[in-house]
């Protein structure tokens, strides 16, 4: 059974049809890539999956459950975490606090126990901190945990977003252009990290990326969007040789 199914998803903004009857199934523990030219609707698709938009038509099935119209924070709680194309960190907070905020959905101490500092709350705080430290070590930002998030280098900010998303203990992780602005070395590290996340943490990964080298290297399955329509889906090998994909996106030299 697929972890996530998009069934006939369409999204209209006024007169603009940003997505047109898109069908995608993401299998459990896959690394699934979505590619396509700018404006093809990739980020719109992510915004639908994470509940920022309610699709005009179609339904969204996550783990066998229809999650159409479920609020963003509830979808996150169900286990879909994401990163953003234009980085959205909590800039004026420390790196550690950014990840601790990511733990919000998997912790539960309320207002009064926080106010009174009850033992249960202190215990939970300790767990949250340990988890945050573990994740920062995983993405290699442990040494920077006391910096303001805004003072990190671009590539580090992207890694911090991944750590914050992982803090939610998701079963599906959406990465929106995770390699943008990274150099070759960082990209190689990122590929290792993505594989590690899938392997060790048992998380399915759906990613949007323009770096074809990265996509072709780590994705097992790829869907191609163009003007809101899915024009192809298949293994990297099939995609590379698909006539329409070459025409609309990859270019003749690929």
């Amino acid at each position: 059974m697929p972890v996530l199914s998009l069934e006939n998803i369409s999204q209209e903004f006024g007169g603009l049809r940003a997505l047109d009857a898109v069908n995608i199934d993401v299998a459990e523990l896959a690394i699934f890539g979505i590619i396509g030219p700018n404006g093809a609707g990739k980020t719109t698709l992510f915004n639908i999956i994470t509940g920022f938009y309610v699709p005009t038509e179609g339904s969204l099935i996550f783990q066998g459950r229809n999650v159409n119209g479920v609020a963003t924070h509830s979808i996150a709680r169900l286990g879909i975490a994401r990163t953003f194309q234009n980085i959205r960190l909590f800039n004026k907070l420390s790196v550690l606090d950014n990840v601790r905020i990511g733990c919000h959905g998997v912790s539960k101490c309320g207002f009064f126990s926080s106010l009174l500092g009850l033992p249960a709350m202190l215990r939970e705080e300790k767990q949250i901190k340990e988890e945050a430290v573990r994740l920062l070590a995983l993405v290699g930002l442990y040494e920077k945990r006391q910096e303001y998030a805004e003072n990190l280098a671009y590539g580090e900010q992207r890694k911090l977003e991944i750590a914050r998303a992982l803090a939610l203990k998701p079963s599906l992780l959406l990465l929106d252009e995770p390699a943008a602005g990274m150099n070759t070395g960082e990209k190689a590290e990122l590929m290792d990290l993505i594989r590690e996340i899938r392997q060790d943490m048992k998380i399915t990964i759906l990613l949007v990326e323009h770096d074809m080298n990265l996509v072709m290297n780590i994705c097992e399955r790829i869907a191609v969007l163009d003007y809101g329509r899915k024009i192809a889906e298949g293994s990297p090998f099939e995609i590379k040789s698909d006539e329409r994909v070459i025409q609309s996106y990859l270019g003749a030299g690929a």
Binding site: H73, A76, R88, L89, I101, H104, G105, C109, Q146
Partner: protein, 298 residues
């Protein structure tokens, strides 16, 4: 506490005592604004409205219904918190300037309501409120409020507040129910507003709707902005400075307000983030040589 108050009033000049009591009340009020505006990032310019609800509710309860002081204060604060929830609801759709307009409007409605409120003495105001508020009561309450504020801001709930200020979209994607959290911030902030209002009423003998006008809201907001948005030590410092400033500036007599304004302008030019806006407890701890730092907030 009565004994301590007696001793204190023996040794401290009534004028200074009065200023210290007002500083304590202003700290409580400003911490409420800090929670809503400084921490959660929802601009509110109507805090005097919450303050007047607390003041009138507690004053009427203790004068006409014989409520004890503590009970009247709590009832006033709870009443203000209920209004905080009502005013917090527009925050679901509005932010920034638009929200500020709504809060100004709400505070004006509350003020005009009390201008026409028979049990509150209408425009004449309410006189003869028992003077229960003393130096000790104010500062005991203020210390409890400061302690709870610090606890809250360094907890999961407090971090969610900061997250909403920093990036609401990312906060929602991190499973934070931004709607509930914003209303909670308004509720707690209004509770502190009502508490401060009750303390104020029981100190002043006399309250009048004009005490809680727009300028009062701005004065309180100034304390937070001047001290440093989102910072507890900053807010306390801001409340101290802006309560003391008009008193200290008495030496320049009729130019007092001119100097007061100039002081604000100059401080904002040299410390645009507020006096302690970029000083965190975390930095201080580092300076004091503690190695492992828990948090960089407040």
């Amino acid at each position: 506490m009565n004994i301590l108050d007696a001793i204190i009033s023996q040794y401290i000049d009534p004028y200074y005592l009065r200023i210290m009591i007002l500083i304590g009340i202003n700290i409580i009020l400003a911490l409420g604004i800090n929670l809503i505006t400084g921490v959660t990032g929802q601009l509110t310019m109507g805090h005097a409205g919450f303050m007047s609800i607390g003041a009138y509710t507690s004053a009427i309860l203790s004068m006409q219904f014989g409520f004890s002081y503590v009970l009247a204060l709590l009832a006033g604060a709870v009443m203000a918190a209920l209004f905080g929830i009502i005013i917090g609801i527009p925050t679901l759709r509005l932010d920034g300037d638009y929200l500020a307009m709504v809060t100004i409007g709400a505070a004006e409605i509350i003020r005009v309501f009390f201008l026409n409120f028979e049990p509150g003495g209408k425009a004449v105001g309410l006189a003869g409120i028992p003077q229960h508020t003393t130096f000790m009561t104010v500062w005991v309450v203020a210390l409890i409020v400061i302690l709870f504020n610090a606890r809250l801001l360094n907890s999961r709930i407090g971090r969610a507040f900061y997250a909403i200020r920093e990036n609401e979209i990312a906060a929602a994607a991190s499973a934070i129910d931004t709607t509930r959290m914003k209303i909670l911030a308004f509720m707690v902030g209004a509770f502190l507003g009502g508490l401060g209002g009750g303390l104020y009423a029981h100190y002043m003998y006399y309250i009048n709707p004009q005490d809680f006008g727009f300028m009062k809201s701005i004065e309180l907001l100034n304390m937070v902005v001047l001290g440093g948005m989102g910072s507890i030590p900053g807010t306390i410092l801001g409340a101290c400075i802006l309560t003391l400033a008009p008193e200290l500036l008495r030496i320049v007599a009729e130019y007092r307000l001119l100097f007061y304004g100039a002081l604000l302008v100059i401080l904002m030019i040299f410390r645009p983030n507020g006096l302690l806006g970029d000083v965190r407890i975390y930095d201080l701890r580092k300076r004091w040589g503690k190695k492992e730092v828990e948090s960089c907030q407040s």
